[in-house]
Symmetry: C2
Subunit: 154 residues, 2 copies
Amino acid sequence: MCGMADTIDYPQLALDDQICLPLYATSRAVTRRYADLLSEVGLTYPQYVCLLALWDADAPLAVGELGARVHLDSGTLTPLLKRLEQAGLVTRTRDAADERRVRISPTERGWDLRAQVADVPARLVAGLGVTEGDARTLRSLLDRLLTGLEAPAR
Amino acid sequence: MCGMADTIDYPQLALDDQICLPLYATSRAVTRRYADLLSEVGLTYPQYVCLLALWDADAPLAVGELGARVHLDSGTLTPLLKRLEQAGLVTRTRDAADERRVRISPTERGWDLRAQVADVPARLVAGLGVTEGDARTLRSLLDRLLTGLEAPAR
DNA sequence: CACAAAACTATTGCGTGCAATTGAATTGCG
DNA sequence: CGCAATTCAATTGCACGCAATAGTTTTGTG
C-alpha cells in the first residue's frame, strides 16, 4: 500500500542482519563501562588509551606516532593532549631536532596513574562471561577487519 | 631508573593486549567507510542506522523505541532526528494518544532513499576477505559481549 | 643554494555520544 | 478524585572524531 516496499524487498538492509550495529553498539558500551571506572581518576576512555600507548613506548612519542598506535589523528589528539597537559599528566614539547614534531611525555603524576588504573581491565572483564579463547577469536577477527578497512579503498 | 616502572610491571596494561582498542578502532573504521559511501546521499552513519530501524518497523517509532533498537538515547537522537527532518527525510509528530511521545515516520523521500542505499552493505564488505562464517562468529561474540555490558553493572 | 614538494601539528566546523537536568504528560495508588 | 511517582523527549555542557584547511619546518632535487 502506498507503494512503499517492505523490508522483504531489501533483505540486505534488515537491521538485525547488519554487523555494523553490534560492532558500533558494543564498542560504545565498552567505552561507557570504561568511563565509569576511569572517572575515579578523572580520565576519559580515549585519554586512557593514549596513556597506555605513552606508558608502553620506549621514548616520548610524537603526536603522529601516538596517533598511529591509537588510530587517531591530530584533529582529535591535539585538544585531547592539551587537556592531559592541563591535568598535569603529560608534557608537550617541540622536538629540538625537528621543530615540526611535538613530543609527548607523561609527567611523574602521569606515570603514577598507571598503578591507579592497573585493575581496570580486570574489573571491566569481570562478569562478562567471555573466555580467554573468545577474546583471542574476537581479537583475530577484529584485527583482520581493521587491516582490510584501513587499506586504501580500492 | 628514575623509579619509573616498565610495562613488564603492568602486563595487563600493555597496549597490544587490550581488546578494547581493536574494537574501538575497528568500529570507527567501519563508520568511516560507511561515511564515504553514505556521503553520496547526504547521510551520516548514525542517521543511516536510524533509517534502517525506521524502515524495518511496522509502525512509526517513538524516539525511545528507536533508541532501544539503535542503542542511542534522546540526547543524541533528538538533534539527529531534527536534522533528518530538516533534510526532508522524516516527520516528527506528537503522539495524540500520549503527548509525551514523538513519533518518527520516514517521508516519501525517506522511503525512496532505501533503494539508493541498497547496495551499501555489499559495497562495504567487498574486498574485506571476511567469510559468512567469520561474520556469524563475530556477531555471536559481539552480541554476548553487548548483553553482558548492558546488564546492570553488578 | 634555491625552491617546490612533502611532512607534521594545529585549527575550524560539524555531527555525534552521553551524563545530568528540565519540564510536560501519564500512571498508579490511596 | 488527588497527587506523588514515573515516563518521556528535549536541553545543556563537555569531549570526542574527522574531513578539510592552514601554517611551519624539513627534505629532496636541480
